[in-house]
Symmetry: C2
Subunit: 361 residues, 2 copies
């Protein structure tokens, strides 16, 4: 360890000495606080420049702000989360804040511990993406640190929230499919063990599906598969659909990843999409536009949502006290996995290949 070559990092005291002023003055300049003349400001800034001074966040954190915020995300693999994060990041950059991403892992405990750790580490505020937990739990959190909730519905007096209108999104998909002539539309839902929070996106989307079906007079055709929004969940749902004597003409997966799973099953079984079955997703992740059969889906403009969340968080850190709740309008992106159903499609015979499905590599 060659300590000799390591020049000690300059502190605000060094800056003050170099500029010939008090540390208090230097601190004021740093924070551009009230009570500094323009010449003082110039002098101190010159010294900071000359010494290559950089404020130490750990030390600042003990009394003031660290100028750092974090976004808590369960899973980085989710492309949509990445979009949200990027939106937040850009807004933070604009305002000279640093954004760090905190991968909490799944499960409520893991997320709660992460939030505590972030508070311990002096974050000035946090964004939570689709957090688990009740309103009152989130409100308790929000009393300790500024919080913006992203992708979870419902307003609260204690924290801000930004969410897409999942109800309207689900409506758009059903309207689209009905306008193409579909009447048998199956919905793939996401269910979490022990969680039953009406504010979660999945709950809102399924309500949107049900509502739209009823509105179109298709209440009797409502068909919901309880599954998981994952590749595997989608594949299982697809196999379930194939195993039925009477199949739907369209499948609406509540999430793009699940839609991919459904499609995988169909491709493997030789079912033509969209001729024999229409499939729609939700989220408009990048991959939906990329694959050979591009998926009809709902765009939530993740970048905008993220940016909105970032803006709200920084506002609140800046002092705003009344809560703001913002809803983003989603749009339909019609692509190639949806089309009018075949004439006699309601009754085509079960494919014998349905039981030879394989997802092995």
């Amino acid at each position: 360890m060659n300590k000799g070559s390591v020049n000690k990092r300059p502190t605000i005291v060094d800056v003050a000495t170099h500029a010939g002023v008090s540390t208090a003055a230097a601190s004021k300049v740093l924070r551009n606080a009230y009570g500094v003349s323009s010449e003082m400001k110039a002098k101190v800034q010159a010294s900071m420049q000359a010494l290559g001074y950089r404020p130490l966040a750990s030390a600042r954190g003990m009394r003031g702000r660290t100028h750092t915020v974090a976004v808590v995300v369960a899973d980085l693999h989710n492309e949509f989360s990445s979009l949200l994060v990027e939106g937040i990041r850009r807004e933070c950059e604009r305002q000279k804040y640093r954004l760090l991403v905190a991968p909490a892992g799944s499960g409520k405990n893991a997320q709660d511990r992460m939030v505590e750790d972030l508070i311990d580490r002096g974050m000035d505020g946090i964004v939570l993406i689709s957090p688990l937990g009740t309103d009152s739990e989130l409100e308790t959190m929000a009393r300790n640190i500024p919080v913006v909730v992203l992708g979870r519905h419902g307003a609260s007096p204690d924290f801000d929230s930004v969410a897409a209108d999942d109800f309207a999104g689900a409506n758009l998909v059903v309207d689209h499919l009905v306008s193409l002539g579909h009447r048998q539309i199956t919905y793939v839902n996401h269910t979490t063990e022990g969680t039953n929070d009406a504010r979660l996106p999945e709950e809102v989307r399924v309500r949107g599906y049900v509502d739209a079906m009823i509105r179109h007079g298709l209440g009797d055709a409502i068909d919901i598969i309880q599954s998981q929004w994952s590749q595997e969940g989608g594949e299982q749902s697809g196999r379930l659909i194939l195993s039925r004597a009477k199949r739907p003409t369209a499948v609406f997966a509540g999430c793009d990843v699940a839609a991919f799973g459904v499609l995988t099953t169909m491709w493997n079984a030789g079912i033509r999409v969209p001729e024999e079955l229409s499939v729609a997703g939700f989220d408009n992740i990048f991959t939906t536009s990329l694959a050979p059969i591009s998926i009809t889906t709902i765009d939530q403009s993740g970048l905008d949502m993220g940016a909105a969340a970032g803006r709200l968080l920084l506002e609140r850190i800046g002092g705003r006290t009344e809560a703001v709740s913002s809803v983003v309008r989603p749009t339909l992106v019609a692509r190639k996995t949806t089309a009018a159903p075949m004439q006699s499609s309601n009754e085509f015979p079960p494919a014998h290949g349905a039981t030879t499905v394989s997802t092995e590599m």
Copy 2:
């Protein structure tokens, strides 16, 4: 602001008082430092439990460690990065360290500023994923903070590194294609403006391709397209290939995302894969296994690489001084986009559809 209801956060002084010992003793217990009896330890831990004490990282950071490390990543959209991050995270979790992800954005300046900010924020160490910059720049960094470099080749005395053997990976692909009977194998390379660092993965991979071709006596067939490892770059490469009178029988894209681009072009042009053209990628990102035509690619076991990087970083924070450089052996994942070439495939006529390629939605 109802401050009255906010119980002040307990400090280590509160813990010490509650346990009836000195703060020094409490601190020792917290850090499990040398010089505490087991009864002292039990007593203090009980008090910490009782008060719900949590150490404040900002304060710790002023003198000791924050028990936090960060991984700097240019782009969260890259699925492979997510894998690496997850690997690091798991290792950190095992050792009671917190991992934060620092999205730097692209460009060397942005990355350098991020590293400075992370040092300011008291990180105990950082992992850099495929960083830009020269060895000496990285070494300068590494003298200020423990550094592990991930996905960049070459050892240094000042920092640890973990990389896949990209040379061997490229060899595996070429060997695979040659063993199928291919001789005309085109490589899609990645080039960055003004960067020419032999230690970057892209440089190593292209050398691996060239070397393998020569080894198989196919030196004259070497064909490298200078492009970008992105969807768009892959599509352009695909169009370039289609525009040629004499086409290759196989395309080796140095990155899965680029392979997707190539495939998109082929699908749009009606070229059958792998019958008319074999396509291979590199990275084994999740999407390659998911799509209807699963892509032959190279697996680098990102989770293992990440875990190795995490382990090295924590070791070094723990005091190791000699540098370690670790190389991971990649494996071939043969899927459905590669097969033996058609008999007369070398001279099939240019597809008339080649000029009607469209990537619009």
